[in-house]
């Protein structure tokens, strides 16, 4: 039982990362109603931006992080402006949008690999330089603690944005019915563009935190996206709270699932959880 506090901490750390991805994914899905597969690659874009500015050029780390997050947002906005919006105007099906996002993901991954090679890179300094904290009998690093705090702050910020601002009202209106929102005078394309910026920036932030915790590689987005999608589905697709709940549930199930069995079963456990939800509760826990 000595292992339990550490497993709880590990679950919270994993849940926080998944939550950041799921928050952005759900935010975009809520407004557009399609699975944006290019969402995960935003994590790689911001991670490599920080790597380039902070480690290659030696710029200030805070500047690099802000630039990285903004770049992910701009790329997400650009994808909507130049790919998804023209397709939406042609009233294509969600399947076409999904395939377009798959193409965007593959192309962006390839560009990153060409620019930076496909080698794994880490944003953190050498090992042993991270501060370690003892929490409830477990050990947690400074980066992991920051990740958890940022996730909580981002969730609070997103809730305020959605429920206390005109922009949030517009997003919720589009989420309920885009056609009606347009009729009542909301510039839906403009709002969706901003949603893409914010959602992609959140994925970018997750990528930077992962870069500091473990490392970055051009293909990191797909694995992250899958975990974000699983979290969203089990929590309730399009529901902000559901995504976060699903992310932490996934983190706990994955980490406690391999307590008594081999670690190679981790992904099998995650996808079994997804299948169970798809069969018995396809609309997720929050059941929006």
């Amino acid at each position: 039982m000595e292992i339990v506090p550490q497993l709880i901490l590990n679950s919270i750390i994993a849940g926080a990362i998944y939550a950041l991805i799921a928050l952005g994914f759900n935010f975009i899905y809520g407004a557009t109603k399609f699975f944006n597969l290019a969402h995960g690659v935003m994590a790689a874009i911001s991670g490599y931006a920080v790597f380039y500015f902070a480690k290659t050029l030696g710029s200030n780390i805070y500047f690099a992080v802000i630039f990285g997050v903004a770049l992910a947002g701009i790329v997400g906005y650009g994808l909507d402006k130049f790919i998804y919006l023209p397709l939406r105007k042609r009233k294509v099906s969600n399947m076409v949008l999904l395939v377009a996002s798959l193409g965007a993901m593959t192309a962006l991954q390839a560009v990153i690999a060409i620019l930076f090679t496909s080698r794994f890179k880490t944003l953190s300094q050498n090992i042993g330089t991270q501060k370690l904290f003892e929490v409830l009998g477990g050990v947690i690093t400074q980066t992991q603690l920051i990740t958890i705090l940022i996730t909580v702050l981002i969730l609070a910020g997103l809730v305020l944005l959605l429920y206390k601002t005109q922009f949030g009202k517009a997003v919720r209106a589009i989420s309920d019915d885009e056609e009606v929102a347009r009729i009542v005078g909301i510039n839906t394309n403009k709002i969706i563009g901003r949603v893409f910026f914010i959602g992609s920036a959140l994925a970018g932030l997750a990528g930077i935190l992962i870069g500091f915790d473990t490392g970055i590689e051009p293909t990191m987005g797909l694995g992250l996206l899958l975990k974000g999608v699983i979290a969203s589905i089990i929590g309730g697709v399009g529901n902000i709270y559901g995504g976060v709940l699903g992310a932490f549930l996934l983190g706990f199930v994955e980490n406690f699932g391999i307590w008594k069995i081999s670690g190679e079963w981790k992904d099998a456990i995650a996808f079994t959880l997804l299948i169970v939800f798809l069969i018995f509760r396809p609309r997720g826990i929050m059941n929006k």
């Binding site: 292992i3 550490q6 496909s118 050990v139 992962i210 391999i258 670690g263 190679e264 981790k266």
Partner: protein, 365 residues
């Protein structure tokens, strides 16, 4: 531009690509009557590119060192990123387009992909791999220190250090599985026990929970069997978990470019090359020989020796090169006196090394 013009331009474009592709493939597939082509499939890009580059440089060095020969030898390199899916397409290209007589592969996963294709197409295949299955068949060979040799040395070292409890972190890959299966057999004859054996999938980056499971196992040393970057992430997370237990490996530390992560740790690896080879390699590349580089150098020379040893009026066929290879005994390679045994395996001895000042150095056996 009207629709018809667009169609015409499109069709001309497609035809141009097909024609250029045809002539390019024709030019590369023409084999000189006196030329023997050797294809090499290794990671030239990706996290393990430094190993593929080492193999490439060693083979080019071997070709450069070659004296006068009856036949000309051409090396063709293909990148597989050590990903068996990419290995299959690379090897099919080498056989189908380049018409190679022999193929060299790196790693047990890719080796297991190449072996049946080489056997089916009757092309000589030399794997730099630990899994003995890679050498199955008439055309397949291995030049690598087998797990049994490495484990023998590893177990002796554990015993000499008085270690009784071993923890294992193992990537779910063929080479690692073959090594651990053999190690478990060897440990049965000793009082050393594996107190925790944590297996994870390639590509995994979050090892925190399996580290937590291993932490209280009482292991006196942890054996890490993984490729880069999982190896470095695992080592980093072990330290971050507050574990100061020594780390060791069988080969893995030399699969990393960040060997300083393992400063002061001992490990077992494949045989050390001669000083002469090491010097020549360093002059050519400005680097120490990477894992498998010396094997690649020897493989090139073994294939050349087999081809040159064939007595016939025409250039030897791959089957004749394979036959000649099986007769090679006491070949003076950079990894010692080499012989091809009845299983098609060229056995070399294992050595113990330590990371000292960021570099691998040989220590006592």
């Amino acid at each position: 531009m009207d629709k018809l013009t667009k169609w015409v331009i499109g069709i001309i474009g497609v035809i141009a690509v097909v024609v250029i592709g045809y002539f390019l493939s024709e030019s590369t597939s023409k084999v000189s009557a006196e030329q023997i082509k050797i294809g090499v499939v290794a990671p030239m890009t990706g996290n393990l590119a430094f190993l593929g580059e080492g193999i490439r440089d060693a083979m080019l060095l071997a070709k450069q060192d070659l004296g006068s020969t009856q036949y000309a030898y051409e090396l063709i390199f293909e990148d597989d990123q050590l990903d068996p899916k990419m290995t299959a397409s690379a090897v099919n290209k080498l056989i189908g387009v380049n018409k190679v007589a022999a193929i060299v592969s790196f790693g047990s996963g890719p080796g297991n992909v190449v072996a049946p294709i080489a056997e089916q197409n009757k092309v000589v295949h030399f794997g730099i791999a630990s899994d003995p299955n890679v050498a199955k068949g008439e055309f397949n060979f291995i030049h690598w220190t087998p797990p049994s040799e490495e484990n023998k040395v590893f177990v002796e070292k554990l015993q000499s250090r008085g270690i009784k409890k071993l923890g294992v972190f193992e990537s779910n890959q063929q080479g690692a599985a073959a090594a651990i299966a053999d190690l478990k057999e060897k440990l049965k004859e000793t009082d050393i026990e594996i107190v925790t054996n944590q297996v994870f999938n390639p590509g995994e980056k979050d090892f925190r929970s399996i580290i937590s499971k291993a932490k209280n196992s009482g292991a006196e040393i942890y054996l890490l069997l993984a490729f880069s970057p999982e190896l470095e992430v695992l080592a980093k997370q072990i330290k971050e978990a507050g574990i100061n237990t020594p780390l060791t490996s069988i080969e893995s530390f030399e699969l990393s470019e960040q060997v300083d992560l393992f400063e002061g740790e001992w490990y077992v690896t494949a045989a050390s090359p001669t000083g002469d080879f090491t010097s020549k390699f360093e002059v050519k590349t400005d680097k120490n020989p990477t894992l498998g580089a010396a094997n690649a150098y020897d493989i090139f020379n073994l294939v050349v020796t087999a081809a040159e040893g064939f007595r016939g009026s025409t250039k030897p066929k791959p089957s004749q090169i394979a036959n000649e290879l099986t007769t090679i005994k006491d070949f003076n390679g950079v990894l010692g006196n080499l012989s091809v045994n009845e299983d098609g395996i060229v056995i070399s001895k294992a050595v113990i090394r330590m990371i000292k000042d960021g570099k691998p150095v040989d220590i006592d056996n």
